[in-house]
């Protein structure tokens, strides 16, 4: 497999502009002869589908939710970064680029990240033009705030519902095209197979989740915008429907899967309350602008109520360890610091798996009303879930799986190694490296969909004539049969355990061994256990109903089946990467509890190639070459 990143030549700051000119164009009259299949309708998928339709392509868009407006991007709370420098606090495209590269622990591609920072400026303009009600200053200009890993205020926000508003902007743009007839929308439709004809992506096989029908769609290109795979952990902040199926099916058809072990653990989630729990809820990172994180100095005090621990007996560990970033230390660092104090036995709340996020100082300084105005909805949500009032006593938080930086490998054009298969947003691996800074997921999703893919996909079409096979082509029939066979197999087992119980066990295994800290020993144990669990799954999973009709248990079982295989790839990737970087923390490689990178051997993207059933996947490396910045050891002290 050849991994050609297709990074344009020339100085970093001019690469994208020059490349836009170099890429070929498709004449407007010819655009309507091309069909594009977009799978997913979140920030990346909806913005891509809308923009491609605006350009004149014929677009079909698929999502498993009942409406494209419900994609999980809607749940992002905090904000979106942009190098606008409206605050005159020293921001620039170069600084956003640098913060993002450094935040990702120098494991992202320089050219991609620079382009992301450049495009960020346009994204805000576009969203405001769409009517996204961003927060404003009294004078009417846009307000901003700070986020982790940055010393500037470059994050634009819409209360604590920024993802919702940006998604609604993209959904409305998409709706406009659906109304005009340029996009055909297929809600409650799940992709089960990718179809290649002569080595290029030409279609997908889907299941209509309402009537159960398995159908094929053909196109001149396929765009996957199917989000991340954090639900492999069972408990995560992802929506319960998020899954790896589309990307994993593409992997099995030959698309390389890059850095699957790079998972972001978010430091500010509501701690787990019991075995029944189905998901974890995030408290926005923006809370760390005003909330102070602490645990008691002595573990003897960790079971006392917070109010009876004297200030002198509190350990504000982020402020102590990272004085210049303090509570706004990046997510991976803040998460590990929280785990460390809990491992020392100083954690608070049930089971000792929690740290305080305390607003008492901010309430004294600004008054409760100001805090309510800034974060009221988050405080309400916290109270609904925990039954506690965070204005009166500090919130309890604990790290949880939030975002996956790994994904299908793509080149600078966002095209995978399969011609015609494009991957955007969280589903691809690009731009965040080994850790994602806050407020940059929304930025990447929209950058890919509005401002990158429309150019690069046009370039692909300009070099390839419209050539869409009929869905009666043998490759489609074969893929449909594979999909049907898998569904039947799920229904034919002996039925002793539910898909959920398997999902929960797999998730616990991955959290313990491939979570916040990984070790050779743990990963080896997980790699031994996963195939056993998988075998048990296929033999004893209980799935009721049939292939026909609306069958949510079958949907879930299919997703768990793919997680079962994917988990192995994830652990293998973590085991092979003998270093610590960003969200990947190998206990064997550390210096005083901080990540110890190995740039000599691992300054690369690891891209895994499927080698066939029962065969070990093949690891390929795309070296990361830094032309304009020096790789430095990452410090937030």
């Amino acid at each position: 497999m050849k991994l050609d990143s297709k990074i344009p030549s020339g100085p970093l700051a001019q690469k994208w502009e020059r490349h836009k000119f170099e890429m070929k164009l498709v004449n407007p009259a010819n655009k309507r002869r091309f069909d594009v299949l977009v799978v997913g309708s979140g920030l990346a998928g909806a913005s891509a589908a809308a923009t491609l339709a605006e350009l004149g392509y014929q677009v079909a868009c698929f999502c498993f939710q009942d409406s494209p407006r419900r994609a999980h991007s809607i749940a992002a709370q905090g904000g979106i970064n942009a190098a606008k420098n409206y605050r005159n606090d020293g921001d620039s495209v170069h600084r956003l680029f640098y913060d993002t590269i450094k935040g990702g622990d120098f494991r992202a591609r320089e050219a991609n990240v620079y382009r992301l920072a450049q495009v960020s400026v346009q994204i805000i303009d576009q969203c405001v033009a769409q009517g996204v009600p961003f927060a404003r200053e009294y004078g009417g200009l846009l307000d901003t705030r700070s986020f982790g890993g940055s010393q500037l205020q470059r994050t634009f926000y819409a209360r604590g519902q920024t993802g919702q508003q940006l998604l609604l902007g993209a959904y409305q743009a998409l709706s406009r095209q659906i109304g005009l007839g340029t996009v055909k929308m297929f809600p409650r439709t799940e992709m089960l197979e990718l179809v290649l004809v002569d080595g290029a992506a030409k279609g997908i096989v889907v299941r209509d989740l309402v009537n159960g029908e398995v159908r094929s769609y053909a196109g001149d290109a396929v765009v996957l915008a199917t989000g991340g795979y954090g639900n492999v952990f069972y408990l995560s902040t992802n929506a319960v429907g998020c899954n790896v199926t589309a990307t994993f099916r593409a992997y099995k058809k030959g698309a390389a899967f890059a850095n699957p072990s790079f998972t972001q653990i978010h430091p500010t989630c509501i701690p787990v309350s019991g075995d029944h729990q189905s998901k974890l809820t995030l408290m926005s990172e923006s809370l760390r602008n005003d909330g102070r994180v602490w645990v008691p100095r002595n573990k003897t005090e960790s079971s006392k109520p917070a109010s009876s621990v004297a200030d002198a007996d509190r350990d504000y560990f982020l402020e102590r360890k990272y004085p210049s970033f303090g509570n706004l230390a990046p997510r991976d660092i803040a998460s590990r610091a929280a785990k460390e104090v809990c491992d020392e036995g100083r954690g608070v709340g049930p089971g000792g798996l929690g740290v305080y996020l305390d607003f008492a100082d901010a309430i004294r300084r600004l008054g409760e009303n100001k805090i309510r105005e800034r974060y009221g909805n988050l405080f309400d949500m916290y109270e609904r879930i925990t039954g506690e009032n965070a204005y009166r006593q500090p919130m309890r938080i604990y790290p949880a799986v939030h975002y996956t930086m790994g994904g299908l490998w793509v080149d600078y054009h966002l095209m995978s190694n399969i011609p015609g298969l494009f991957v955007v947003g969280e589903a691809n691996f690009s731009d965040h490296g080994a850790n994602r800074l806050g407020a940059s997921a929304l930025m990447q999703g929209l950058a890919d969909g509005y401002f990158v893919l429309p150019y690069t996909l046009s370039h692909y079409f300009a070099s390839n004539k419209p050539n869409r096979p009929a869905t009666t082509h043998p490759e489609f029939k074969k893929a449909e049969e594979e999909a049907r066979a898998r569904l039947k197999r799920l229904l034919s087992s002996s039925g002793k355990r539910t898909p959920r119980s398997f999902h929960r066990e797999l998730g616990q295994l991955i959290w313990n061994h491939c979570g916040m800290a990984r070790s050779r020993e743990g990963l080896t144990a997980a790699l031994r256990r996963i195939p056993e669990l998988r075998e048990e799954f296929w033999k004893t999973v209980a799935v009721t109903g049939g292939v026909e009709g609306f069958n949510q248990t079958l949907e879930h079982a299919g997703r768990v089946a793919d997680f079962m295989e994917f988990a192995e790839l994830m652990c293998l990737d973590a085991l092979t990467r003998e270093e610590s970087c960003g969200g990947h923390f190998r206990v064997e490689h550390q210096e005083e509890g901080e990540c110890k990178r190995n740039d000599e051997q691992f300054a690369h993207v690891a891209a895994w190639e499927y080698a066939g059933p029962g065969q070990a996947p093949v690891r390929h490396a795309e070296p990361l070459v830094y032309e304009e910045i020096k790789m430095a050891s990452r410090s937030y002290k």
Binding site: Q126, A129, G131, I178, H276, D380, Y450, K496
Partner: protein, 249 residues
């Protein structure tokens, strides 16, 4: 906790449907309402019975997917809360709880507790957007928006499109949803240009989809998980009247 659940079961859209009663001993006050249904479904699957179909996704009150009528009230009656954020600590040991889908003709039942809300999407497709294409947008700060307007637009924009307003209304009116959309876009300078056309088209689609008229009983406002106020309906009626007078379409 021991609960008795009376749940609406319906195989498919045309089916008559009926309540079935389940004794549910395995509940815990810290569980969310949907987690309680997860636990029930685990049991049903192991007994070889069809689990109860219900919709949910984000489970943090923002995606608008969950759609349960609990004890006769959409989302269960905790002020400003979606069904997924309702926790069992709000119920008592020994309670009997009835669970139904949204009831409204424009929202046909897909199965059990799931309904088809694509009518909402079609309303948005007929005008719930700003007609701007990608690229070439002016600098975001070139058009200041007074904070009061931006805040009010945001109050409207936070509608999650769940449809509880329709389910609570005796006429199955979609006015609260449509008015939220119209107010959000109409309050911002970017959306003002198309204000007349938007309100006329969206109201027309709303009627064509079979949603009923508003008689201002306020039941929508009472159940709205985002507490969208009735005043937006007044705003929409005014916009609609003005657009009719101007005679634009």
């Amino acid at each position: 906790m021991h609960l008795t659940l009376k749940i609406w079961r319906q195989k498919e859209p045309g089916d008559t449907g009926a309540f079935e009663t389940y004794s549910h001993p395995g509940a815990h006050p810290d569980m969310s309402f949907l987690e309680m249904l997860d636990v029930l479904n685990e049991r049903l699957i192991l007994e070889g019975k069809e689990p109860v179909a219900f919709d949910s996704d984000c489970r943090e009150g923002i995606c608008g997917t969950c759609s349960l009528v609990i004890n006769g009230v959409p989302h269960g009656g905790q002020k400003g809360t979606t069904a997924c954020q309702l926790h069992l600590r709000k119920f008592k040991d020994g309670d009997t709880i009835t669970i139904e889908p949204w009831r409204a003709r424009p929202f046909p039942v897909t199965k059990d507790l799931c309904v088809d809300r694509t009518a909402f999407d079609r309303i948005v497709q007929s005008g719930g957007f700003v007609s701007v294409s990608t690229g070439g947008a002016p600098d975001a700060n070139c058009l200041p928006v007074p904070k009061e307007d931006a805040d009010l637009a945001m109050d409207a924009a936070q509608c999650i499109g769940c449809g509880a307003c329709v389910a609570a209304c005796k006429n199955a009116s979609a006015m609260l949803f449509v008015s939220a959309k119209i107010s959000h876009l109409g309050l911002l300078p970017q959306g003002k240009v198309e204000r007349d056309r938007r309100v006329l088209n969206m109201v027309k689609t709303m009627d064509a989809e079979g949603f009923g008229a508003c008689t201002v009983t306020g039941s929508c406002e009472a159940v709205c998980p985002k507490e969208i106020p009735l005043t937006f309906i007044a705003r929409m009626n005014r916009d609609y009247g003005l657009a009719l007078i101007k005679g634009r379409s």
